[in-house]
């Protein structure tokens, strides 16, 4: 029961976090109107995962292991690309918030609508298939006892609840701090998602080095413990990490964080100066 609860919680958190941060961002920047698109993405991902999971469990054909891992890994890496793009988009629009550019940015934000749908769909979908397969298996087991399914669903519910609390908490944070913080969190999470994607591809045999571990702290942080679950669910931290995973994380998180922080703390553009200088040069 506890173990199934923890699985639900972990998978739920993995899917929820990015969505919550994007949600908070939209609310915070006064674009609540775009929220339905985010939800549409989530809805599509859930529907596709559940349907696909049911098909693979009860249908005549299953998915090969390589394909499962390749899909999971591939989606993770695509998701990282999209989240990174969102983070920088947010950084850019955040800087112009409150300025006279605001209205123009809002117009442009409409163009990003499909991006939002996709980001949400990928954030949920990359873990969705695995979770759906698990839930169907739990549902099948419920002939014997309902507790596995109940535990897993409870875990998902708690993840959603935590997501909601986070959302509320984030809304109370001061505006400029919020934007920086959200971006930082998203970069760290995305780094974890990337590393996880790399691991899946290693398991599928598409990338090498599955057995060269950079570190293994699985005795200190057992993956089945509640804190192991939280670390995995929030940061995608794996207690036994391969060199390639670690390298992917560092090579992603460090430069992206650098550019992100630079973009965030760059002094605001002094628009009046530009034409003046241009005029001076011209004369």
């Amino acid at each position: 029961m506890t173990a199934n609860f923890l699985i639900g919680l972990r998978e739920g958190l993995e899917a929820t976090l990015i969505v919550v941060l994007l949600m908070a961002y939209l609310t915070k920047s006064g674009r609540r109107a775009l929220l339905p698109r985010l939800w549409a993405g989530v809805g599509i991902a859930v529907a596709v995962s559940v349907g696909f999971g049911a098909l693979l469990t009860f249908g005549p054909r299953g998915l090969t292991f390589e394909a499962q891992e390749a899909i999971g890994g591939g989606l993770s890496i695509v998701a990282v690309g999209l989240v990174t793009w969102m983070v920088f988009w947010m950084a850019r629009t955040a800087r112009s918030l409150g300025s006279e550019l605001r209205s123009r940015v809002d117009g442009v934000a409409d163009g990003a609508a499909w991006g939002l749908v996709l980001v949400a769909a990928l954030a949920v979908g990359r873990e969705g298939l695995e979770t759906a397969l698990f839930l169907w298996a739990a549902a099948q087991a419920s002939g014997e006892s309902g507790t596995p399914l109940f535990g897993a669903l409870l875990g998902l519910a708690v993840a959603a609840g935590l997501g909601y609390l986070l959302h509320r908490g984030v809304l109370k944070v001061n505006l400029s701090l919020f934007f920086t913080w959200t971006g930082v969190a998203l970069v760290v999470i995305a780094g974890g998602v990337l590393a996880y994607g790399v691991h899946d591809l290693q398991e599928a045999g598409i990338l090498p080095g599955l057995h060269s571990l950079a570190f293994d702290v699985s005795t200190a942080v057992p993956p089945s413990s509640w804190y192991g679950t939280l670390l995995k669910g929030t940061l995608n931290f794996s207690p036994a990490t391969t060199w390639l995973e670690a390298a992917a994380w560092v090579l992603y998180a460090v430069p992206v964080m650098f550019f992100y922080l630079r973009a965030n703390f760059r002094p605001p553009l002094r628009r009046a100066e530009a034409p003046a200088t241009a005029a001076a040069v011209a004369s």
Partner: protein, 398 residues
């Protein structure tokens, strides 16, 4: 600030890229389907293999299965989340896995497995190497799948043979160290007892070892084949010293130590080099033929182990190596030339059966104990196998 000038263009480009990426994943998903049919417990007599994973145990209801589609129904009877893996013979490559099996939950693992050796593992708590057991997939005569991609079968075979070479070199290094230590220490009895068995690991992968032109003579040169001025090292140098002919002058302790050291160093070098060797289907096929030629040239004649007379150990090992290469190519061969596969199967079995007649304890009769007729019988079977075996490469590769 060029970045601020064209945000719209970049945004749409990003979105488009994502759509492209997402649509690229879907066909992959559809192309990689595997049959679920045998997961259905009703109907067929050979239902899923039951796996029960508890926190300390991993019970697999069968230790072997016929090749084709296998279904493992993995039930978690423990308190911790578990995972179930089917690993390749080397214990490293994941053939298939199912993760996130919560307590009380059964999940099916369906895979298409060609004949070969595998390892199953439950991993309660999702850490460590798991509780492992050997699992054998027997050739059912059925093709792995009706529509299996030939290239994939070939690639799988090559991968499996590469793992076999790795395993054999590892055992060779370990065995050689033990042999060398006993020999260097002057423990002739122990060294003699290890000699033939350790060399088997060498003989099984001889074509790969021989592809390194410098190492082969250092490790396996026979006195009769020495070129003028060539320094004699390796196994047969020790052999002569351990099984001395009449009038032979023993080596000194220092000479033995030097030979031992060289033997271990060369073997380790071999092991390192085989790690990066790139095998391919033609190398497997030709290698199998080479091994059989080796048998005909040196083992059937008793020339290889002129002092120890342990030629039949080498014989068996050469046949092992050839058979494994053939078995690994067999799924592909069955698609291209099923008759040849059948013929080879029969002839390998006949030769193996005859060899078994000469088995004694863990080993074999000495070559000088064989009668002339017995040698002739073996020789005839080797020739009979050699003929179809020479067609293997062309049948698979062309």
């Amino acid at each position: 600030m060029p970045g601020l000038t064209s945000p719209k263009i970049r945004r749409t480009a990003g979105a488009r890229l994502a759509v492209v990426a997402a649509t690229a994943v879907l066909p992959l998903a559809l192309a990689s389907c595997t049959d679920n049919a045998s997961a259905n417990p009703s109907g067929t007599t050979d239902g899923p293999i039951q796996v029960t994973s508890t926190d300390a145990d991993c019970k697999v209801s069968a230790a072997e299965a016929p090749s084709g589609n296998l279904t493992f129904a993995v039930k978690n009877d423990g308190a911790e989340v578990t995972e179930f893996y089917v690993l390749a013979e080397d214990g490293l490559r994941i053939v298939a896995e199912v993760e996130n099996i919560g307590p009380g939950i059964t999940r099916n693992l369906v895979l298409t497995a060609p004949a070969g050796k595998y390892i199953t593992a439950c991993k309660p708590g999702m850490k460590g190497d798991g509780i492992r057991a050997d699992f054998t997939v027997k050739d059912s005569g059925k093709q792995a799948t009706a529509d299996a991609d030939l290239q994939k079968l070939v690639d799988t075979g090559v991968t499996q043979y590469t793992a076999y070479v790795k395993d054999q070199t590892e055992q060779l290094v370990a065995g050689t160290k033990e042999f060398a230590a006993a020999y260097a220490a002057g423990d002739a009895a122990k060294a003699k007892s290890l000699y033939a068995a350790t060399r088997m690991h060498w003989e099984r992968i001889e074509p790969v070892a021989e592809s390194f032109g410098d190492l082969d003579p250092k490790l396996d040169a026979r006195e009769a084949d020495l070129e003028p001025g060539q320094k004699w090292t390796g196994w047969h140098r020790a052999e002569k010293d351990l099984f001395p002919p009449a009038g032979y002058k023993e080596l000194t302790a220092a000479e033995r130590a030097a030979i031992s050291k060289q033997l271990v160093a060369d073997t380790e070098e071999l092991s390192t080099r085989t790690r990066t060797v790139k095998l391919s289907a033609d190398k497997l096929g030709n290698g199998a033929k080479e091994l059989l030629d080796e048998v005909a040239r040196g083992k059937v004649t008793g020339e290889e182990e002129i002092w120890s007379h342990t030629d039949l150990w080498d014989f068996q090992a050469n046949v092992d190596g050839a058979r494994i290469a053939f078995e690994n190519l067999k799924p592909a061969l069955q698609q291209k030339d099923a008759a040849l596969a059948k013929d080879l199967d029969a002839k390998f079995s006949a030769l193996q059966a005859e060899l078994k007649n000469h088995a004694k304890g863990d080993g074999f009769a000495y070559y000088n104990e064989l009668s002339k007729d017995e040698v002739q019988q073996l020789s005839a079977l080797v020739d009979a196998l050699g003929e179809p075996l020479s067609k293997l490469t062309a049948a698979v590769v062309l």
